[in-house]
C-alpha cells in the first residue's frame, strides 16, 4: 500500500482503469491459484503407476472407509490409495471428464448422483466379470449399471436427550413447535424434507410421491414446512448436524444416521436417533470415465465389496452394508443401530431416485425461492 501514484488523466486512461479494477480481483484469485498449484504439486507424484485416487464423503464416514478399506487394502496389495473427499458435487466429475484431465478414479456417489452421472456418461458402466463380484449379492445393484453399492444410509431425525422434556417419537413431533419448542436442523435441500412435511401433514408414506407429483401436493408440503420455517437452521455438510446438536444450536435435527451414531458412541454425546419414517438411500462406488488407473480402481472396488470388508465397516459406522452377504458377519451389537434392522424398518421409506431425477431442478428452484424469502 506504499505506492504513491496518482493517476494522471490522459487519453486512453479508460483501459488502464479497467485493468486496475480487474487486478484487485486478481489479488483474491492469486490465493486460489497458488492453492491449486500447491495441490497439483502435492498430488502429482502420488499419481504414479500403482496408486488409485478414491473420493468419499469426509468426516466420520471417511474415517470408517479408511479403516475398513483403504488401510487394509494398502496392506494386502502393493497398490497405493490417494484419498480425497467431496460433498457429492457432480460438477467436479463433469469438469474433469470434459477437460480430459481425470484425476479421480473411484468416486462414492449417492443414488441420485449415480443415476445422473451414469446417464450423462461421466462414470463408466461396471464390468462385473472383471470385478469378480456377484451383482445379485448387492442391494439395489440393478438400479444403475454404473454402481457397486457400498452402503445403505438413512436420513433420520435425531435429538439431544438432555434438551427435551419428553422424548419425541415421530416425524409429527418434529413439526410440533408447541410440544417440542426449540430450533430444528434440516438439510438445505428439498429432498426428504418435502416427504416428511407431507407425512407430518397426514399423508400415508405409500402415497407421498404420488401426492408430491401434483402441484397441490407440493404446495401442501411447503405450507407444512412454513409452520416451522422461522425455527429452522439449515445444514449442508453431513458433519454439521451433530455439531449443531452439541453446540445447543438446535434441539432436533435431521441427520445421516451414521454421523449421529458415531457422535453418541465415540464422543459419548446424549444423542438419540428417531427411526420413524427414516429415509433410506443407497450409495456406491463409481469409476470415473477415463480413469487413469482403471485396473487398480477395479482391484479396490473388488476389495471394498468383499463381505468381510463390508462387515468390518460396521465396526466404525452404523450404515447397512451394500453386500447382502456381509450381514452374516457383522457384530451383533451394532444391529439395533443399523437402518436395515427390522425394528427400524417399520415405517421406513426408500428415497425415490427417479422421482427426484425428474423433479429436482424444479423443486430445488422452488425450495431456494422459499428458503430465501
Amino acid at each position: 500500500m506504499s505506492c504513491k501514484c496518482v493517476v494522471k488523466n490522459k487519453p486512453g486512461e479508460q483501459y488502464t482503469r479497467l485493468f486496475r479494477a480487474i487486478n484487485w480481483e486478481e489479488v483474491m484469485n492469486k490465493k486460489l491459484l497458488s492453492a491449486v498449484a500447491l495441490m497439483a504439486a502435492l498430488t502429482l507424484p502420488a499419481l504414479a503407476a500403482d496408486s488409485v485416487t478414491v473420493v468419499s464423503w469426509g468426516g466420520a464416514y471417511q474415517d470408517s472407509v479408511r479403516k475398513a478399506f483403504f488401510e487394509p487394502f494398502m496392506k494386502e496389495t502393493s497398490d497405493k490409495i490417494v484419498e480425497e473427499e467431496f460433498n457429492g458435487e457432480i460438477a467436479k466429475i463433469r469438469a474433469m471428464v470434459d477437460s480430459n484431465n481425470v484425476t479421480w478414479d473411484v468416486v462414492e456417489n449417492d443414488s441420485m448422483t449415480t443415476i445422473a452421472a451414469c446417464a450423462e456418461g461421466i462414470v463408466e458402466k461396471i464390468d462385473w466379470d472383471k470385478l469378480g463380484l456377484k451383482r445379485d449379492e448387492f442391494i439395489s445393484a440393478d438400479a444403475s449399471e454404473c454402481v457397486v453399492p457400498s452402503i445403505l444410509y438413512a436420513t433420520v431425525l435425531a435429538y439431544d436427550s438432555t434438551k427435551v422434556k419428553e422424548a419425541p417419537t415421530s416425524v409429527t413431533a418434529f413439526f410440533d413447535l408447541e410440544k417440542f419448542p426449540g430450533k430444528r436442523g434440516l438439510q438445505k435441500s428439498p429432498f426428504v424434507n418435502l416427504e416428511w412435511a407431507l407425512v407430518a401433514d397426514g399423508v400415508d408414506i405409500k402415497d407421498v410421491y404420488s401426492v408430491l407429483a401434483t402441484p397441490e401436493g407440493v404446495d401442501r408440503a411447503f405450507a407444512k414446512l412454513d409452520t416451522i420455517k422461522k425455527d429452522v437452521v439449515w445444514w449442508e455438510a453431513g458433519a454439521q448436524p451433530p455439531q449443531l446438536l452439541s453446540d445447543g444450536q438446535v434441539v432436533l435435527t435431521s441427520a445421516w444416521n451414521g454421523r449421529i451414531y458415531k457422535a453418541a458412541k465415540e464422543d459419548k454425546k446424549p444423542f438419540v436417533v428417531l427411526w420413524d419414517h427414516q429415509a433410506l438411500d443407497w450409495q456406491g462406488w463409481n469409476v470415473v470415465k477415463g480413469a487413469k488407473n482403471r485396473d487398480a480402481a477395479y482391484r479396490f472396488i473388488a476389495f471394498a465389496g468383499r463381505p468381510d470388508r463390508q462387515a468390518d465397516q460396521t465396526n466404525y459406522i452404523s450404515y447397512g452394508p451394500g453386500n447382502k452377504e456381509a450381514i452374516k458377519n457383522t457384530n451383533p451389537s451394532i444391529t439395533p443401530d443399523l437402518p436395515t434392522s427390522p425394528d427400524n424398518m417399520k415405517t421406513a421409506f426408500i428415497i425415490n431416485a427417479s422421482f427426484w431425477a425428474d423433479n429436482l431442478d424444479t423443486l430445488r428452484e422452488r425450495f431456494n425461492v422459499w428458503v430465501a424469502q
Binding site: N9, R94, D358, T362, A372
Partner: protein, 425 residues
C-alpha cells in the same frame, strides 16, 4: 495531492520545450529512444500480462460464454431443429418433424446423449426428463411411418405444442434462456418474454440483497475505519506501529478461520451470548448467528482493513500545516475538518470503499457459515448451480450479470468521483 487545474499551467510538457528549433533529426532520435524505452517497459510487464490472460481472462471469458451459448439441443437434435424451422406453431408439427425426431433419437441412443437432451428440456418444461429419456429408448423400435402417431403413443408429451416450441427455441445455439432466468424472466410458448411464476422468482431478490449487504458493509467499515485511521495517522510513531499491527494481524489471517471464529463467538451458547445473559439483559439468547446481523458483523470484521489502509496512507501524507492554516485563518475545528481535511482524504475513502464493496459482492463462505437462509448472496447461488445442479449455463449467466452490474457501478463511480482521484496510498 495534484490538482488537475492549476498545476498543469506550470508543468513543462515536451511540446513546450523548444525541441523543434534543434532540427528534425534530433527530434526523431529522441522519439526513437522514447519508443524503445516504452517497448522495454512493455516487455517487463509482458510475463504478468500473459499470466493474467492465460490463467484469468481466458478461462473467465470461456466460462461466461456458457451463459449465452448452449449448443446441446442444436447438436443432439439437428434434423428436428431443421424441420421445425418451417413450423408455424399453431398446431402440432407435421409428420416430417416426427420422422426427423425419431432419426435424431436413434443417433442419440448410439451416442449416449439421451440424458443431455432430457436435462436440457427439463429446464424448459418441468418434469419431462425421464419421459424424454424413455422416448429415446422407445424410438429405437419405430422403424416405419406413421411416426407422429407412434411417437405420441410412446409418450403424450409429443402431442403437446409446448415441448415443440421449446425445442424450436432452444435449437438456436445462441440462447437468452439462462440470462432471462437469472433475471426471473422466461420466454413463453409463443416466444414473448414474461415474468416467471412467483414461486420460481428468486434471482432478482438475491442480486438486490447482494448489493444491499455489500453497501451496508461498506458504509459500516467506513464509519469504523475513518476515526481509527485518523488516530493511526496522527499518533506518535511507536504507538501507531503497535496499533497498526492490531489492524494487520487479522488482515493476514485466513478468511475461513475468521468466519469460523465468528461462528463460535456468536452461537446461542457462545461467549457473546453468555456475556449478554450474564448481565441479565434477557433470558433468551439473542439471535446473533444465522442472521443478517451475523453476516454483516463477520463481513465488516474481514473487510475493515481493506477500507482502513487506503484511508490511513492518504491521511499519513496530508501535511499538518493545512489544518493549522485553516485554523489560523479562523475556521472552527468542525468547519476546518469538513472544508479542508475531509476533502483531502476523499481519494482514500474512494479507494477503500470501492475495494470493500467489490470484494463484498463475491462473499460466499461467510454468509454460508454465519448467515441464515435469507442472507445467502449471489455467489452462493452460483456455487450451487455449478456444483450441485450441474447447470453451468445458469451459473455463468448469474456471474455475467454480477460482473456487468459491478462494471456499471465502477463506471458510474468513475463518472461521479473520477478514478484519478482514487489513491491506494
Amino acid at each position: 495531492m495534484r490538482r488537475r487545474n492549476g498545476l498543469r499551467i506550470f508543468s513543462i510538457t515536451p511540446s513546450m520545450t523548444p525541441v523543434g528549433t534543434l532540427g528534425t533529426g534530433l527530434k526523431r532520435q529522441f522519439a526513437i529512444a522514447e519508443r524503445r524505452g516504452h517497448f522495454r517497459a512493455l516487455l517487463l510487464i509482458l510475463p504478468l500480462f500473459l499470466f493474467i490472460v492465460v490463467t484469468f481472462a481466458a478461462p473467465v471469458i470461456m466460462l461466461l460464454t456458457n451463459a449465452v451459448h448452449d449448443p446441446s439441443i442444436a447438436e443432439t437434435l439437428p434434423l428436428t431443429v431443421a424441420e421445425l424451422k418451417n413450423w408455424d406453431g399453431k398446431d402440432t408439427p407435421s409428420e416430417s418433424v416426427y420422422a426427423a425426431l425419431v432419426q435424431d433419437f436413434n443417433k442419440a441412443k448410439e451416442a449416449n446423449t439421451a440424458a443431455l437432451i432430457g436435462k436440457r428440456l427439463n429446464y424448459e418444461v418441468a418434469g419431462v426428463r425421464s419421459k424424454v429419456i424413455a422416448s429415446v429408448n422407445k424410438a429405437a423400435n419405430i422403424s416405419a411411418p406413421p411416426y407422429k402417431e407412434q411417437m405420441i403413443k410412446a409418450d403424450k408429451i409429443w402431442g403437446d405444442k409446448l415441448i415443440w416450441s421449446k425445442i424450436k427455441q432452444s435449437g438456436k445455439s445462441l440462447t437468452d434462456f439462462y440470462v432471462l432466468r437469472s433475471l426471473d424472466l422466461q420466454r413463453s410458448g409463443d416466444g414473448n418474454i414474461a415474468a416467471v411464476p412467483k414461486s420460481q422468482a428468486v434471482y432478482l431478490t438475491v442480486l438486490w440483497r447482494t448489493f444491499y449487504i455489500s453497501s451496508l458493509v461498506t458504509l459500516i467499515t467506513l464509519a469504523m475505519a475513518y476515526p481509527v485511521a485518523f488516530m493511526l495517522a496522527h499518533a506518535p510513531a511507536r504507538l501507531s506501529n503497535i496499533l497498526l499491527i492490531f489492524v494487520l494481524v487479522p488482515f493476514w489471517t485466513s478468511l475461513l478461520v475468521r468466519s469460523t471464529a465468528w461462528y463460535v463467538l456468536l452461537q446461542d451458547n457462545g461467549p457473546v451470548n453468555d456475556l449478554i445473559q450474564g448481565f441479565h439483559f434477557t433470558d433468551e439468547p439473542f439471535k446473533l448467528i444465522f442472521s443478517r446481523f451475523g453476516t454483516v458483523t463477520a463481513m465488516v470484521h474481514i473487510q475493515l482493513p481493506f477500507t482502513l489502509l487506503p484511508i490511513y496512507s492518504v491521511m499519513k501524507n496530508i501535511s499538518p500545516s493545512y489544518m493549522r492554516a485553516a485554523r489560523s485563518l479562523g475556521g472552527g475545528p468542525f468547519y476546518s475538518f469538513f472544508r479542508v481535511y475531509l476533502p483531502l482524504t476523499l481519494p482514500g475513502i474512494g479507494a477503500g470503499c470501492l475495494l470493500t464493496f467489490i470484494l463484498s459482492l463475491g462473499y460466499y463462505i461467510t454468509p454460508a457459515l454465519v448467515g441464515g437462509a435469507s442472507d445467502q448472496m449471489v455467489s452462493g447461488i452460483i456455487a450451487s448451480a455449478m456444483n450441485q445442479e450441474n447447470n453451468w449455463g445458469k451459473a455463468s449467466a448469474l456471474s455475467a450479470i454480477l460482473l456487468v452490474a459491478t462494471m456499471v457501478l465502477f463506471f458510474v463511480y468513475n463518472r461521479l468521483v473520477g478514478i484519478d482521484k482514487m489513491k491506494f496510498g
